[in-house]
């Protein structure tokens, strides 16, 4: 019978030079790989949030002239508000800097502050949020993805408050500088897709126009309908209460508006008509509207647009995210609402 030889272990012949080569060589390669990952995920990640935050803050950093309209908000605004429509309808220039809901109003505040630092106060700001963003506690760790020098939050209102704890700073550090550790899901997905030759790993998964508008083309009516069910469950189980940080950040924005005479428009995001018709949704939205109206009531420059624009499922990707034709309709409507508001004042 042929029997496989049982393998042995004999120590390798080696000089002492080998130890630093092994240790330092592999660590240096790992660090290089990490830097490559930072660049790669900023451009080609499958993590939409990471990509959006990176791209929009990058857009803000690379703006070389001021605009008339700063459009801020969450992902519904990102793919729902078209700056080009502002230009066509009002003849005024706009930029869409909307990111994701989990950064909350703090992100809008910090972007506005950075804009003021660079260009002075903008004439107008539009803030668009889905109804269920206002109650959320923000995830400060996500600010680690903002491509700014480490500790940039110290220059912003509430920065000290949000990043006061060492653990938050540590996690944000990992998020910012060690994506090999913090972005494992995105890396794994990218690797899997590349290994299965499903996609070109150096092709961006989304497209943002130079004015910041994210183009979405494919409707997903079934996702819209199913998503609406989840929303109804949420609204039937919860009453509205704004989160502390969103509240604080909004108060800061109101102060900025009053100090610099900036017109700030608080706007409801587009919504699926089936969801809007639900009474529990209406109840919840009533609480949101009351809170937003409360911000406007004591300020000369903050306005709340109470109207809501609803859409059929075939113009949407989920109950509050539009595809491009829907975005065009929504932005025309929004501009019209602003015009009406201006005329009434």
């Amino acid at each position: 019978m042929l029997r496989l030889k049982i393998p042995q272990e004999t120590l390798p012949e080696a000089g002492w030079w080998r130890v630093p080569v092994d240790l330092l060589g592999s660590l240096v390669l790992l660090v290089c790989l990490n830097f490559f990952t930072i660049w790669y995920l900023g451009n080609f990640t499958t993590n939409f949030g990471y990509w959006t935050i990176y791209q929009k803050w990058d857009l803000l950093a690379n703006m070389d002239e001021s605009v008339d309209w700063l459009i801020l908000g969450d992902s519904s605004c990102n793919q729902g508000v078209m700056p080009s429509v502002f230009y066509n309808d009002l003849g005024e220039r706009a930029v869409n800097l909307c990111t994701i809901g989990n950064l909350g109003v703090v992100n809008e505040l910090w972007m506005l502050e950075e804009y003021i630092d660079r260009f002075g106060p903008p004439g107008n700001v539009v803030i668009v949020h889905v109804y269920d963003v206002w109650h959320r506690d923000i995830d400060p760790v996500l600010f680690g993805q903002v491509p700014r020098p480490w500790g940039f939050w110290h220059q912003h209102s509430l920065g000290q408050y949000i990043f006061g704890e060492q653990t938050v700073r540590d996690q944000a550090f990992l998020e910012r500088f060690i994506p090999l550790y913090s972005q494992t899901r995105a890396i794994t997905t990218n690797l899997q897709m590349a290994a299965m030759l499903q996609d070109n790993p150096f092709k961006a998964n989304w497209h943002i126009q130079p004015d910041g508008f994210l183009v979405a083309t494919e409707p997903h009516p079934e996702v819209v309908v199913n998503g609406a069910r989840d929303h109804i469950q949420f609204t039937s189980e919860n009453g509205f209460q704004i989160s502390k940080l969103n509240d604080l950040a909004m108060q800061e924005i109101v102060e900025l508006a009053d100090s610099y005479r900036i017109n700030v428009y608080l706007v409801n995001s587009p919504v699926y008509e089936g969801l809007y018709a639900d009474p529990t949704y209406q109840d919840y939205l009533y609480g949101v509207q009351a809170k937003l109206a409360g911000f406007a009531i004591y300020s000369q420059f903050v306005y709340h647009i109470e109207a809501v624009h609803t859409f059929p499922a075939d113009l949407m990707q989920n109950p509050d995210h539009l595809i491009q034709p829907g975005a065009e309709i929504y932005t025309h409507w929004l501009v019209e609402q602003i015009r009406l508001l201006r005329e009434s004042n």
Binding site: L2, I6, P7, A14, W16, G25, L29, L33
Partner: protein, 499 residues
Amino acid sequence: MSFQSLEFLYFFLGFIAVYLALLKWRRIQNLWLLAASYFFYAFWDWHFLVVIVGMTGVNYLVGRALDWNENERLSASSIRRALLGIGLFSNFGTLIFFKYLDFFKGGLLRLFEATGLPVDAILVNVIAPIGISFYALQASSYLLDVFNRRIQAARNLLDLALFIAFFPQLLSGPIERAGRLLPQFQKPRRITAGMFSAGIYLVLSGFFKKMVVADNLAKIANLVFNNYQDYAGPDIAIGVLAFTGQLFADFSAYSDIARGLAYLLGIELMVNFRLPYFAASPGEFWQRWHISLSEWLRDYIFYPLRKALLRWKGQPDNWLALLLPPLGTMLVSGLWHGTGWNFLVWGLYHGILLVLYQVWIKEKPVGLVDPSESNRGGAININWIHARRILGTGIRILAMFFLVCFGWLIFRVQTWDQFWSMLTSFSLIPTPNSAALWADLVLFSLPLVGVQLLQQWRGDLLILARLPALPRVLLYAAALALIVVLGVRETSEFIYVQF
């Protein structure tokens, strides 16, 4: 303080810096090593120190007494036996008390209730000191070797304390022999670049096996075993295969890290795994799997039992001498893992495999190939014979792997119903889960299988550490990156630490 924890990293870096600075002062270096070992152990629970220090003291005294040739009374055979009995009773008594207390708890509680003694707190709250299954065997092997005059007893208590408590192997072995390990503590450390390089490779290999392979395979195995009623068809086999891979990767990872850390300290620990799933027979499996335990059981149970039976019965091929040593040894092996019925059945199952194989090779000692075939001549014929041998070996390896997997099914199940349910719901018809489970199994097993094929082909367990500088550094960096990206973050304890 788990090997994967940050605390351990800080502990080890701080420790080794001082340790290397003390290279010229062996005694102080040993003291530092012992202090670190006790600190490492106390980090789990300081109460455990009482057990290990007590066991060290008893073994030291008994060992010295066993070795006291000047005293005629003490060197008499019956006295030495009695001393050995005391030492072994102390070691195994401690092991049995802590490890099998749960098994006896019910009866003991009833007994104490009946007698009115207030010992509930001790019985209810006692927990087994971690690693006791390993260091109790190690300490016992020391006494047995001193008794059999294979080694001299340790003169210095510090050396023996280190032999029992050396922290890299304290929790899960390898179960070292005093003849190999004690002399290393008794002479000045000599750390070579080869040892250091091998140490780095083994530590990296261990973390890769544990965090990337074992812990990811554990997710598949746990999913199938913990929800076995929801799974059927090939998913059952995938679950068993995942557990087979997990157990090997997990346990050999601990051994790799322990041996790697020991190399960094200038200490050589025995190889504990030699690619066990390439074994072509039950006997060979135990020469490759958990070798330190297998050799312990062979030297202190199998051989003495067989010798005793042969002395008693005389005939070398009597059936008792054929049956009892493997069955008894493997039953003890099963019992060592725990008191669950599955461990006992698993041990018995492997004992039966050993017996059946012994019977089979007695029937067909030359193996699969008929020797007359080699006389037929001609190059084509020789090639054919060689091909048949290779094929035969491949079939044997596959058959043995299947038998081992079946053994792990017994080992892993919680109840007899679960065993039967999993066995009967196996089929080859894929379910909707099969593709995803299979993809994960392949993804996380592939690196391990690839490396092992290379190691087996070259007959060299350190083949990757022998690569030229550039590919080696690239490989190390890739392994580190995969640990960071794919490694499971939630610290899960090594499976064998619980034994």
